[in-house]
Symmetry: C2
Amino acid sequence: MTETTASRTDLCASAPSAHPRPDGQDRYTISEVAAFTGLTAHTLRWYERIGLMPHVDRSHTGQRRFSNRDLDWLAFVTKLRLTGMPVAHMVRYAELIREGDHTFEERQELLEATRRDVRTRIAELQDTLAVLDYKIDFYAGARGAPEGPSA
Amino acid sequence: MTETTASRTDLCASAPSAHPRPDGQDRYTISEVAAFTGLTAHTLRWYERIGLMPHVDRSHTGQRRFSNRDLDWLAFVTKLRLTGMPVAHMVRYAELIREGDHTFEERQELLEATRRDVRTRIAELQDTLAVLDYKIDFYAGARGAPEGPSA
DNA sequence: TGCTTGCTTCGAGTGCACTCCAACGTCATA
DNA sequence: TATGACGTTGGAGTGCACTCGAAGCAAGCA
């Protein structure tokens, strides 16, 4: 019954980012959204085709009109993409939202699994950072004395 | 003159990881290396083909015999790969090593650029983590009261 | 000697995430 | 009203990083 409410609460969560236009005047063209998000119009259409977007409104002539909520969703998707999360998982999450409130538990589990992945990845990167620091220090030291036998 | 020294100091840097066999008996077949590193034999050959490996020794019949140093290099490459660094950049770094000591400065710059990328990526991931935490909290709260109007 | 396993090369195939094209329709402005 | 920028679609193409296949040589063992 309250799919709309559920979607709104979810889609708007956590990003108090100012929208380009206030609610009520938020009917962006695809090229506006491309400019705001850094995604190409091609990619935005492709996201819709594969089910990664919630339903995008259309003008009377069939052109897309994106809302502030769509922008929030895209900001979230963009963050997830940076983590290396496969698009298929994001599509699954989008499906769960479309299916309504009874998927709350599964959505939570999916996000928790994602969070575990992100934490693992951060740990890996910090590991790599340590190696890079070590090697950079080696080169910095070697610039004066390039014959160090075993740095 | 001291390319070998330079390579050794660089390749061995920072990983005191125990090798499967001590130096002197380190002539691993490709399938052994595949087992140790988790890479496939195909990938190892491909790395060599594209110039991502330093020269790999061969047996009298032409089969590859990997050394402990090769293992260290692969461990490093694997770490860099996790950062999303393009293979082409790693190939460039490998080339610089082959070119000798006079590329120390360029190597250092390349690693520093990589380090900046890694730091940026870590920051992005921590940002994403905050969003995930927020949304997971929302679902955890909503499980009791699924009608929260604007989480 | 035959069998299995592993190695070689080159080249083609795969999966992902876009990215672009062609052909056409729509909108805003001079 | 005309022109040019922007929008639509389905489908094909791209680039990356592998991944696999085929054909053939080599080593170890019953």
